[in-house]
């Protein structure tokens, strides 16, 4: 059965789609012993958020790994999550926690996306002017920036009032219980826009995965294409971090699972597979969190737990 699936990526996609639909249905209905009129919208919002976040993390990780030609790097390597934490810490540090709570969340979100885009644009503008080995340098600078932002954030967190730190800390851990409804609509529009562009570029992604030299020889303007992909990745990472906070280890996991299940080089197959896997893992994880552990723990812990098991499976399969 596994052999037969290996040769048929479309069948794998159908099975994953059924799995995603099943986990959404289970999440919406299990233990719903109240008014449907309350339960469905309440849980529906969470489902939409998780689908958006799962999609954003999966697609951004796969695309990032395509342009870096490396299956261990993730956007977090470039210091995105660290920047996100630094932005929020600075706001509390300079203005006070009231800014985080009182300001219109849509405005805050737009500002966060803008800051992250500016950061990424500055970084690669500066780096790609060098031409050769741009990406390796970019990733190295990303690591250095990540450490810088993290250290700056840590410094500010030590200096602020302990009460304010408590409010801040709450935002540092991924949780789907504090998703902001106002942000969902904007996030959905951004994700749809990115998807539309990604669909048009699907064949170009495949060529980019062959590396800089081969892409150029095949007539792809490598620098511009990589810049475009980085903008898409930045927007997706901004959406997921702004919605629920940093859950970046997760991307590595679903991306590698997708490569394993879809033995193909075509992004048209890999990207949906990774996104569906992410949706299954997030919604399944949240279901277990709410029903088994009674909300006693954070989703990121569940994800790390399931992730650890799957990572061992990956290692075992690879060793065979």
């Amino acid at each position: 059965m596994v052999r037969a699936l290996d040769d048929n990526p479309a069948a794998v996609l159908v099975i994953l789609a059924i799995g995603a639909a099943a986990s959404i249905t289970a999440f919406m209905t299990i233990g719903a012993n109240g008014q449907w009129g309350f339960v469905l919208p309440f849980r529906g919002t969470k489902v939409v958020a998780m689908v958006l976040v799962g999609f954003a993390i999966a697609v951004s990780t796969v695309l990032f790994q395509t342009i870096t030609q490396n299956r261990i790097l993730t956007p977090s390597i470039m210091g995105f999550d660290a920047l996100y934490l630094l932005v929020q810490t600075s706001v509390v540090f300079f203005i006070g926690s009231s800014a985080l709570v009182d300001v219109d969340p849509r405005f805050r979100f737009a500002a966060e996306v803008a800051i992250m885009l500016v950061f990424a644009l500055l970084l690669y503008r500066f780096l790609f002017s060098g031409g050769l080995r741009g990406l390796h340098l970019l990733v190295l600078v990303g690591v250095v920036f990540g450490v810088l932002f993290r250290s700056l954030g840590n410094l500010m967190q030590r200096l602020i009032d302990p009460n304010e730190f408590a409010i801040l800390q709450d935002r540092f851990f991924a949780s789907f219980n504090r998703v902001d409804n106002d942000l969902l609509a904007i996030s959905a529009i951004l994700v749809l826009g990115v998807t539309a562009i990604g669909w048009r570029w699907r064949h170009r992604f495949d060529v980019l995965a062959l590396g800089r030299e081969v892409s150029i020889s095949l007539g792809v303007d490598h620098q511009r294409a990589v810049t475009g992909v980085l903008i898409l990745v930045t927007i997706l990472v901004s959406v997921s971090t702004a919605l629920v906070g940093p859950v970046t280890f997760f991307g590595l996991l679903v991306a590698n699972l997708a490569y394993l299940m879809i033995p193909s080089h075509r992004h048209m197959l890999i990207l949906p597979a990774a996104a569906l896997l992410a949706v299954i893992a997030l919604i399944g994880g949240q279901l277990v969190l709410e029903r088994v552990f009674g909300l006693d723990t954070a989703l990121s812990i569940i994800i790390e737990f399931i992730g650890g098991i799957l990572f061992i499976v990956l290692l075992l399969r690879g060793a065979r």
């Binding site: 030609q69 064949h203 995965a209 062959l210 081969v214 150029i216 095949l218 303007d221 080089h265």
Partner: protein, 252 residues
């Protein structure tokens, strides 16, 4: 015709190509030779627009390689570097299929599939077409990449040491294939070679570089001679006439 005009390439303070001017006529097989660090691969990469350069111009059939649109150039010249590492899991046929990307942009037609099949059989890869690249030996993978640039169906083929990793049989048949590309298909083949005897045996023209400058160019008869080789490689090299071809004895 490829026209290289006053090209300068520097890495930091080091000048790799030092004001090189050279014209490579269309047709035939041209071998680029020279000692390590002469700038052969750099020159090939610059013609193939893989590397930017500081000054000068390079045109291929009148197209400026630094200014012409990438997809236009991709139908005119194909370039293959020495090291090609691919992370994605690809079969040989899929890799060769990418050679058609400049023509079909990811939507292959029957004609594109014909080109792929022909390239596969040219390189003796038909039996391996459905194997994954990571299941191949270095030499088989090398041939798969050459099949890809062949399927690209361009007038100019630029290859950086295509004989790397190849055993005697496949090295000889690779040179024979490049010869046929030039003779039967009318392509212009420009190839960096380490083994000067392959150049002597198969090339129509040899271009010798040293320290980023042109030292000699001409037909093999004019270049493969003790005095010119000594000048290019800075070491005495004996040359014998065997079956009407010059063979360098550089093993002692």
């Amino acid at each position: 015709m490829i026209i290289i005009d006053e090209v300068i390439k520097r890495y930091g303070a080091d000048t790799i190509i030092d004001g090189l001017s050279l014209t490579l006529p269309a047709g035939g097989v041209t071998a680029l030779i020279g000692p390590n660090g002469a700038g052969k691969s750099t020159l090939l990469s610059m013609i193939g627009r893989l590397l930017p350069f500081e000054a000068g111009t390079i045109t291929v059939d009148g197209l400026d390689v630094t200014k012409a649109p990438g997809d236009r150039l991709a139908k005119c010249l194909a370039v293959l570097r020495q090291e090609n590492h691919i992370v994605a899991r690809l079969t040989v046929r899929e890799l060769v299929g990418y050679g058609r990307y400049p023509h079909c942009k990811g939507r292959p037609t029957a004609e594109d599939r014909d080109h792929v099949d022909r390239a596969l059989s040219y390189l003796d890869l038909t039996g391996l077409a459905d194997r994954f690249l990571d299941q191949l030996s270095g030499g088989q993978r090398q041939r798969a990449f050459v099949a890809m640039v062949l399927a690209q169906d361009t007038d100019y083929l630029l290859l950086d040491e295509p004989l790397n990793n190849l055993d005697i049989k496949h090295a000889a048949s690779m040179m024979g294939l490049l010869r046929r590309c030039a003779d039967d298909l009318g392509r212009t083949v420009i190839v960096v070679l380490h083994d000067i005897n392959f150049a002597s045996w198969h090339a129509d023209r040899i271009v010798a570089l040293r320290d980023g400058r042109l030292v000699h160019q001409g037909p093999p008869e004019a270049l493969i001679r003790p005095d010119t080789l000594a000048e290019i490689y800075d070491t005495p090299i004996e040359v014998r006439q065997i079956d009407g071809r010059q063979i360098a004895l550089h093993y002692a």
